[in-house]
């Protein structure tokens, strides 16, 4: 608090007076809280507004073959979460306008591993001096890059630790064998639910599922003891047998954000015992678990304030600075954000296995079985086309190693736009042409050094990628047309020989999921081809048995539904192909008599049969907007024949998957 006015006392007086003068200024009516909230409500309740501008007609599924018999399909969600400005000032290296790589990728100066802490300090110092008029660093919405992680998502993963005999759901992850943390988990007997509640702190509630007759057996809050502990909160968790790993957002005495990974022995579910607690500087970005190793990624801003205060520019892990020979920075590019990657073995959580700090402010994160890819769209690169830099760390058994970093033209939709197979990274990106307007799409195949070995450009001009999914040699992606009357569509290369097929259907899929061997499920929006208006949430089942002739076998449209979190977060989908079960929460906006809008949420469960198509098995209405909760991000889990709904305000509720009958409910708020 301190140094209020750091100037002459003689200034202080007039400044106080001048402030009073300024205080006479009243904002116009349009900016009043009432008017503003009214406007926000109007806009957030009428999702159809978003559609204006999309002429939309057919969404297109493109199928391509890559090399010998590979075949792809993709998808993407639009620009919203793709566009995160970078925090770096590209200046002296990287590419400048006019020297863009023709094919997409260019070396970006390369990363250097530090040989001392002083070297890092000098590096940051230098860039601060170079930085005169650049205010890069905030997104348009003011979000810092680490917040821009809505794109953590994956596909169904079979948790390799699924030891329970009872069949139960798993978090819907991207890569089989690579688990992703979430706010709910189940092991077939217990539910593990993070509930943050009104105090914003939260706890993991362990609930004995008991066929729906639930009983809370314990709750575990943040374990930290800092002075700001009331601001600490529980984020997400993993469960592996009798071990629970909880990620927590914490603050030290200086009010700086750090992340704690706490490991518990939950042999006694009623009394979790802390077996290890590891901390790393920075705000939580993402995490993964492979085998018994958990990898936690945080982001921390770095500023060389003073050489003595090394914590301002060197991230700490477990109260020690990251070893300098584990710190990597780009020699010719200024970066003020550190990505801190730390790994631990949950079977011996006394210390981190490995920590690496990279001066890179990545956003989209994709983790394969042996590599971590972080991508960041470059903002002020001076290029006339969108560009992304991608950074790769190899990993195995808790050890990580900086592997490569490269740039390519285009921007990624989300983590599903990336996929690694047999040592190659395949990705699809939408390339915006800032100079002439419009966009095209590119597909790249990169080798283990991230050098491009194959590519296709100019796909679906004028459209952008909304979703993508890869399986072995095959990839799929969905693009969607956006009306932009200022620019003509570039059809110069419409006949790429590598495209296998193109299916034109109405609407578009924002999430793709392989369903049985020769089927692909799409969840997205239906769009009126004439007016471009959204007409509900659409489920499509595609027959991909013949990739040259993909068909939409069946579709169903939830006409009243305006949104579902699945479009932006794969973890919000409950999909179990073997059980033929598809569940998610939809929101509907109902106009009231007084002209306002009320949001209603429903959790729906579908099954799919070839021939008869999608069948709605359950439709559970959740309370409206009472108590300030939105059920948008509700999670469904199942154990045997019971469906559990969590993240529905302070309740976890259970329903029969057969009859839909409500079997029980626990309130997470009351004191036990």
């Amino acid at each position: 608090m301190s140094e209020r006015w750091e100037q002459d006392p003689m200034d202080q007086k007039w400044i106080e007076e001048a402030k009073k003068t300024a205080g006479m200024v009243e904002p116009p009516e349009r900016l009043s809280p009432d008017k503003v909230t009214e406007k926000l409500k109007r806009e957030s309740r009428k999702p159809k507004r978003i559609v204006a501008g999309y002429k939309a007609a057919a969404a297109v599924l493109l199928f391509l073959i890559l090399g010998g018999g590979s075949f792809w399909l993709f998808r993407q969600i639009g620009r919203d979460n793709a566009a995160v400005p970078d925090t770096r000032i590209k200046g002296r290296s990287g590419f400048q306008a006019g020297e863009e790589p023709a094919e997409g990728v260019s070396l970006s100066g390369g990363y250097k591993t530090a040989s001392s802490y002083g070297e890092i300090y000098e590096y940051l110092k230098q860039q601060e001096e170079d930085r005169t008029e650049t205010y890069a660093g905030e997104t348009a919405a003011g979000a810092l890059p680490e917040t821009a992680a809505p794109s953590e998502n994956g596909i169904e993963t079979k948790d390799e630790a699924a030891t329970a005999e009872v069949n139960h759901s798993e978090t819907n992850t991207q890569v089989e064998g690579v688990d992703e943390s979430d706010i709910v988990k189940t092991d077939g007997k217990y539910l593990y639910v993070v509930y943050t509640g009104e105090n914003a702190v939260g706890a993991v509630h362990i609930i004995e599922a008991n066929g729906g007759d639930m009983k809370e057996v314990s709750r575990t809050g943040p374990v930290t003891d800092g002075v700001y502990k009331e601001y600490d909160s529980v984020l997400e968790l993993y469960v592996d047998g009798d071990t629970m790993v909880v990620l927590m957002d914490c603050y030290n005495e200086a009010g700086e954000n750090y992340t704690v990974t706490a490991v518990y022995d939950i042999t006694d579910r009623g009394d979790p015992k802390l077996t290890g607690m590891l901390s790393q500087d920075g705000a939580y970005h993402s995490s993964r678990k492979n085998g018994s190793y958990v990898y936690v990624f945080t982001k921390k801003y770095a500023a060389a304030e003073s050489k003595e205060n090394d914590r301002s520019y060197i991230p700490y892990v477990d109260n020690e600075p990251v070893a300098y020979d584990h710190i990597h920075y780009p020699e010719n590019v200024a970066v003020s954000c550190t990505l801190v990657a730390a790994s631990l073995d949950i079977t011996s959580p006394g210390r981190f296995c490995d920590t690496e700090a990279v001066y890179f402010s990545g956003d989209t994160m994709y983790v394969s079985g042996d590599a971590i890819y972080v991508a960041e769209q470059l903002w002020s690169s001076g290029s006339s086309k969108s560009q992304t830099e991608i950074f790769k760390l190899s990993y195995k058994d808790g050890q990580m190693e900086v592997s490569a970093n490269k740039r390519f033209l285009g921007r990624l939709n989300d983590q599903f736009s990336l996929d690694q197979y047999q040592g190659y990274l395949r990705l699809v990106a939408t390339v915006d042409d800032y100079q002439n307007g419009g966009e095209t799409n590119s597909l790249y195949v990169m080798d283990e050094n991230l050098d491009i070995v194959g590519s296709i450009h100019n796909l679906a001009p004028g459209e952008q990628i909304y979703s993508a999914r890869f399986m072995g040699d095959t990839g799929y992606f969905v693009t969607f047309r956006q009306m932009d009357p200022l620019f003509s569509v570039d059809l110069s290369d419409p006949e790429n020989p590598k495209i296998m097929g193109e299916l034109k259907i109405t609407g578009f899929s924002s999430y793709l999921h392989f369903y049985e061997d020769d089927k692909l499920l799409g969840i997205g929006r239906e769009v009126n081809p004439r007016t471009g208006a959204f007409e509900g949430i659409k489920l499509s089942m595609f027959d991909i048995g013949d990739p040259y002739d993909v068909k939409e076998l069946d579709k169903t449209v939830l006409e009243d539904a305006d949104g579902t979190a699945v479009l932006n977060n794969h973890k919000a989908a409950l999909i179990d192909v073997s059980k033929n079960l598809l569940g998610f929460c939809v929101t509907e906006n109902v106009e009231r008599k007084d002209g306002g809008w009320t949001e209603i949420s429903r959790y729906v469960v579908y099954s799919y049969e070839a021939g008869s198509g999608f069948t709605e098995k359950l439709s559970i209405e959740l309370n409206g907007e009472e108590s300030g909760y939105r059920y948008y991000d509700t999670r469904g889990l199942y154990i045997a024949n019971t469906l559990y709904l969590a993240n529905t305000g302070p309740f976890v509720s259970a329903y029969s998957l057969e009859s839909g009958e409500k079997l029980g409910e626990v309130l997470l708020e009351e004191e036990r």
Partner: protein, 199 residues
């Protein structure tokens, strides 16, 4: 910054715990919770924009854009960040964009014309005392004497209640640079305002 939550001396009357609760709700999409947070700060947001920009309607637009961006991006607000500083940062960026826009396309607007007239009256000794509007125009005019960057610095300190360290962080400059620019700017304003405020 241990004091990050209270940096804006009295202008933020809400308890931090209440603020955190509202932020949580706003992150879940609750517009009313967002509105309560906004209510605490919107007057300062508008005043900041008004005094550093050239046109009242630009100030209105910039604040309007800021609110929309803030609501859409509220999930990006970190736990350790105060709503007030966060939204001020968004506003600062948007205002800077507007200032850049002016630089490319000179504007001579209504407000400026009014201030100009006011300035002329002052020269002729026709200045009336105490009238709110005139004082406001005078102060606005004093702000306009500064370079765009200095306007932002002084604006953040006046309306945001930030100290030089915090401003330096927001603008990614050295605190020392901010301090020296600020004292220079204040001296300039003082000269321009001489005759008022007991200067």
């Amino acid at each position: 910054m241990p004091d990050a939550f209270e940096m804006s001396e009295g202008r933020w009357s809400m308890e931090r715990s209440e603020e955190l609760r509202l932020i949580k709700l706003a992150k879940k999409g609750n517009v009313d919770a967002f509105g309560q947070l906004y209510e605490e700060v919107y007057k300062d947001l508008y005043r900041f924009a008004l005094f550093i920009l050239k046109e009242p309607h630009d100030a209105e637009d910039v604040v309007g854009d800021t609110v929309t961006a803030a609501f859409e991006g509220i999930r990006g607000l970190r736990h350790d960040e105060a709503f007030r500083s966060w939204i001020f940062r968004i506003l600062t960026n948007k205002s800077k964009r507007m200032l850049k826009h002016y630089a490319e396309r000179p504007v001579f607007g209504e407000f400026e014309a009014a201030a100009e007239t006011e300035g002329m009256q002052e020269e002729h000794g026709a200045r009336s005392s105490g009238a709110g509007q005139e004082d406001i125009l005078d102060l606005w005019d004093a702000f306009q004497q500064l370079s765009e960057e200095d306007r932002v610095i002084v604006g953040l300190s006046f309306f945001g209640g930030y100290n030089s360290q915090e401003i330096a962080e927001m603008l990614r400059k050295k605190p020392g640079t901010v301090r020296s620019r600020q004292s220079r700017a204040l001296a300039r304003m003082r000269t321009h305002l001489s005759g008022s405020y007991g200067i």
